[in-house]
């Protein structure tokens, strides 16, 4: 065994989990464990208490409202990937989930755990930031809601309250006609991406393109949303898309590491963002021509 010694508790309710978290400065929440357990094994994380939230029933449910789909924090990635609600109403997330790890890690990894962990190359976090999902934390018995677009502030760093427990993610339902695109480049399938891009174009009969969501991940310290809404009302031709993405990418700071230079990451992210937007546009054209 490689991790340091710790205690293990399995609360039955969210409030019990929050109580345990508040009672120990060095406690950590264990969801699917696909990121936390390697960190324990490498002793990058040395908690005194692990709080296993896998047995809290309300964290494993989907809730459909008129306008939103709420996903419980403990919903496994493989379950979300197969969910008809996700496929129908959050098509961008459905597309991205196929890029998250590989089948055995998706079987255990959770949607909420990935967001709380905030790896800069995490696909689910990128989709949440791109679409401006609502992230709900339970803190001292009350719910606090964060906009995913401003939630991530650094590598493995968020503005989440230290004694809060992520309970659910809420995504606005995509309109009946919309297009999505998701691309990433990784050294191997299922490895951490060197650059990734997510796009969703919303369309309404009569008014045309109503909003364009574009985000890039893996290239900076956190997933970032890019503003290309000036493309609304244009014919969305290849040249206009490329110009808008190049302009939006100018202010983006990319990081350098062993695997890729900052310049490479920027170049690839730009190209992937262009492809994601083109895919989204083409899906809408296909829908409208049917």
């Amino acid at each position: 065994m490689k991790p340091v010694r710790f205690d293990y508790k399995r609360p039955a309710t969210i409030d019990e989990a929050c109580g345990l978290l508040a009672g120990d400065d060095n406690a950590r929440i264990l969801a699917g464990g696909q990121s936390l357990i390697p960190m324990l094994s490498m002793r990058l994380s040395r908690p005194s208490l692990l709080i296993d939230i896998a047995h809290i029933p309300e964290l494993t449910t989907f809730v459909e409202t008129e306008t939103h789909i709420e996903i419980g924090a403990m919903v496994r990635q493989a379950v979300a990937q197969k969910s008809e609600l996700v496929k129908t109403h959050i098509p961008l997330l459905a597309k991205a989930l196929g890029h998250v790890g590989h089948p055995p890690t998706r079987a255990r990894g959770t949607v909420g755990g990935s967001v709380a962990h905030a790896d800069p190359s995490a696909e689910i976090a990128l989709v949440a930031a791109t679409l401006g999902a609502e992230i709900t934390y339970r803190v001292d018995g009350t719910d606090e809601i964060f906009d995913a677009s401003d939630f991530f502030i650094g590598p493995m760093l968020t503005i989440a309250p230290p004694t809060g427990c992520l309970t659910r993610l809420s995504f606005a339902k995509a309109p009946a006609v919309c297009g999505t695109g998701f691309h990433e480049v990784a050294p191997r399938k299922s490895d951490y991406a060197l650059a990734s891009a997510a796009a969703q174009i919303n369309f309404a009969a009569g008014s045309g393109v109503t909003s364009i969501h574009l985000g890039i991940g893996s290239v900076g310290d956190f997933p970032e949303r890019l503003d290309v809404n000036q493309l609304c009302g244009t014919p969305l031709d290849d040249a206009a898309i490329a110009d808008a993405v190049h302009a939006a990418m100018q202010m983006v700071e990319t990081v350098e590491d062993l695997h890729a230079t900052a310049a490479y990451r920027k170049r690839v992210a730009t190209e992937l963002a262009i492809r994601a937007l083109r895919d989204a546009r083409d899906e809408i054209s296909k829908d409208l021509n049917q």
């Binding site: 065994m1 710790f6 205690d7 696909q34 357990i37 390697p38 324990l40 055995p104 890690t105 299922s190």
Partner: protein
């Protein structure tokens, strides 16, 4: 120390363990089942793959205490049972036949990943096979014969459903 009770290859197993012990170490050191291999021990290589309720997972990325009450299958539970105990299962046999292994260290994980795929998809494409084993690293074969083995096993299992009811006739 925590009590852990789970089902391994159809048999109930109980043990007392520290919370920091992974399911991998529990299987090898407490249950004495050494067929589940320790490779990278941080979720990259897939050598420690086991099945929980038929789904492939990493036993190094799970604590034994998290597996409380779960139904686990290891490589020791994959071969023939009853009168055929000790004989190879269809997937194992296909690996031998196509030369789907050299050193054999990744093989238990590969076979369990294949088992998880073939239990839900009886006629996978080559792409689906590659996707199913995308989390398992082999440093010997170059994967080609492993993919061949899984496709051969799929074919044989398919034939078994249609025309050959007993696995005795398969050999």
């Amino acid at each position: 120390m925590n009590d852990v009770t789970l089902t391994i290859n159809g048999k109930p197993v109980s043990g007392v363990t520290e919370p920091r012990v992974t399911l991998l170490d529990f299987l090898r050191d407490v249950a004495g089942l050494k067929g589940t291999h320790a490779g990278c021990e941080h979720g990259v290589c897939g050598a420690c793959t086991v099945l929980i309720d038929g789904t492939a997972v990493r036993s190094c990325l799970m604590l034994a205490v998290q597996a409380e009450g779960e139904d686990i299958t290891t490589i020791e539970g994959i071969g023939g049972s009853g009168a055929r105990a000790g004989e190879l299962g269809v997937i194992q046999d296909a690996f031998c036949e196509t030369h789907g292994l050299q050193c054999g260290y990744c093989t238990p994980g590969m076979i369990l990943a294949a088992e998880a795929l073939l239990s839900v998809n009886t006629d996978p494409t080559e792409h689906e096979v590659r996707e199913a084993i995308s989390g398992n690293i082999c440093r010997c074969t170059g994967y080609v014969q492993i993919v061949d083995a899984i496709l051969l096993a799929a074919k044989r299992l398919g034939q078994r459903n249609d025309a050959v009811p007993s696995d005795a006739t398969l050999a």
